[in-house]
Symmetry: C2
Subunit: 146 residues, 2 copies
DNA sequence: ATGTAATAGTTGGATTTGTAACTAACAAGC
DNA sequence: GCTTGTTAGTTACAAATCCAACTATTACAT
């Protein structure tokens, strides 16, 4: 057995990633929560629609790696607030096309601006030039199917 | 307003960190969950005790950035399984000293071994030499109080 | 010593999430 | 046409989490 002294939970990647993710999410979470009463899954859906235009729930699930129940509930709440519209596909009536309303787009624009600024602020806290490398590594880790 | 084309949620650090954290936690979660019926907060407490010896709930909270209610409940469940003992401090009777039992240490040793192997496997999936840089960046991000 | 504040940890209730089962619609083979 | 399987999305119930209030104990000031 390897020497247990080699191991510190503080350097264990899944742990460290969670700590970093949680800490770096707090400030942004505060905005979408306090300002719009939104949950994490809701801003994710909102952003996907804001960026990619109209999508189905399945599209979002594939892109965001979100389970369909999360999406279903997020979509429900966003629809209640009139941030998005749901339109049945005429060819395949199981499918629903989602799109932001004007109100939804306003919220998205506001939050996107804040996210952009916040991302910049996070990057500024890192050694110069490391951000792109970091993003590439995170993408690699996120892709891993475990 | 900045060009909205500059922004993609897939590169937004809090989002990317969450994706990486979630993906990289899955495999390890499967082990502590399936093999020992443990929850995330429970292995965290277990590991802190395994690594740092006996601690109080507050110590763990400070080190792991965990809220005291999470710790309280994790400690309860670990105590029920006889993985740890709780001992009242004689000087300050609010304080409880936590320590692993022999059974708890066995579980910890098993999981620690798996965590070590898994961490190595994760690192092997990254470009050579990038792991230490990544850990340093994650520590920086985790320290950020936001 | 006594009132006030701080700290360690627990508990209760509402909110959120996870898991599995479900409905509805389409597809493909026979 | 029918059966079987697949896919889109929803719902129900259990489990986990969050937040605020709570008990118990200690600390500190007057």
């Amino acid at each position: 057995m390897r020497d247990s002294q080699d191991f510190d939970v503080q350097t264990f990647l899944p742990y460290l990633l969670n700590q970093a993710a949680e800490a770096s999410s707090l400030e942004f979470q505060k905005v979408y929560k306090d300002r719009y009463g939104m949950l994490r899954n809701e801003w994710r859906v909102l952003f996907h629609l804001g960026i990619y235009g109209h999508l189905t729930a399945s599209d979002i699930g594939a892109r965001a790696q979100m389970h369909k129940t999360k999406i279903s509930r997020a979509v429900q709440r966003l629809a209640e607030r009139r941030y998005l519209t749901r339109t049945r596909d005429t060819d395949d009536r199981r499918v629903e096309h989602l799109a932001l309303t004007a109100a939804g787009r306003k919220v998205y624009d506001d939050l996107r601006q804040i996210a952009q600024d916040y991302d910049e602020a996070l990057v500024e806290g890192l050694p110069a030039g490391d951000a792109q490398r970091l993003r590439a590594l995170l993408v690699t880790l996120a892709k891993r199917r475990g």
